[in-house]
Symmetry: C2
């Protein structure tokens, strides 16, 4: 995919440099080329997305590592103790995230982490999940992507429903979206901008 | 925890080396010491476990990385296509594991993997899960441990129920155990010998 992008840029510059133009025009064009080359990767992908998405869709965004597995728990202290005192994992303090309606505890597993969630406030997004799953349970998985806007555009085309019109700022301060569990075989999938 | 182990070995060797013995006896004792030092880490942990477990329990075994997140799906081809064609992940071929009653597909995420599961045969361990969760869902998480026997011994002491008396050989050919979801806040946790 990256090769495709590079190849496009090379063709683009070759096009400019082979024009039979006066030196002055050449400078202007080179400057415009330079400006274009300095465009961020994200914007470039969006530009490409508009004109080339049907030919090279895999160029536009890339799925990354598993950021975390979120587990909703009815008792955060007990869950914290299970992972810390019984299983011996490195466990964070409890962090309140009122803007997300949750208390969180992070369990470090070396290559990724578990995110223990407990409702905070009356409008907590995990309250109804815990009403259905009294003892707790796996709530969602979060996978990183390198370009969340490009991911959204492609997923919409491929009829995967996204639970918000725009990305929201997630628990780690980065843009996130959630994919509809019914379009992901019963799994609530969060995509987070890496 | 490792420091505790090292410290024990140093005390042990100091004990031997400070004995007032003839050179011949010293050679014999040194040889026995060497043999003991060459004992595998696993056996050493078991030896330590028998005599010192109440003092240094955290020395005995260690939780490792997240090996995989298992997702039970009602249609393996469609699930495979979601992760491969829509999300662009690297996805394995379908592997039949008749001894485990499942078909599996591995989704590579760089730091860990998803394991898509579909029932194989009438006694599949995931058949009842899919009857309750028609569209599929997260089935279990698998975390690696460096000594599954030591983990079992400690978890039993700490009243965490294990779903088998002995480890079984899991889908990756390594010993595994499953912890009771009710003792793990609604999550079925698999521990796999790393």
């Amino acid at each position: 995919a990256v090769l495709h992008c590079t190849s496009f840029l090379q063709d683009f510059s070759t096009f400019y440099l082979h024009l039979d133009v006066t030196p002055c025009l050449c400078v202007i064009l080179s400057f415009r080329l330079l400006t274009r080359l300095q465009t961020s990767a994200s914007t470039l992908r969006t530009l490409l997305s508009n004109s080339f998405s049907q030919n090279i869709p895999s160029c536009l965004w890339k799925l990354g590592r598993l950021n975390h597995v979120a587990i909703a728990v009815p008792d955060l202290d007990k869950a914290q103790s299970l992972y810390k005192d019984v299983l011996g994992a490195q466990v964070s303090e409890t962090v309140a995230l009122p803007e997300h309606g949750v208390y969180t505890v992070f369990v470090e597993l070396g290559n990724t982490k578990l995110e223990l969630l407990h409702p905070l406030g009356e409008k907590s997004p995990i309250a109804s999940f815990l009403q259905k799953n009294k003892t707790g349970g796996m709530h969602h998985i979060c996978i990183e992507v390198d370009d969340i806007k490009a991911a959204m555009a492609e997923l919409k085309k491929k009829k995967i429903r996204i639970l918000s019109e725009e990305p929201k700022i997630g628990a780690h301060g980065k843009p996130v979206i959630f994919l509809h569990p019914k379009d992901c075989h019963g799994v609530l999938v969060e995509l987070e901008q890496a």
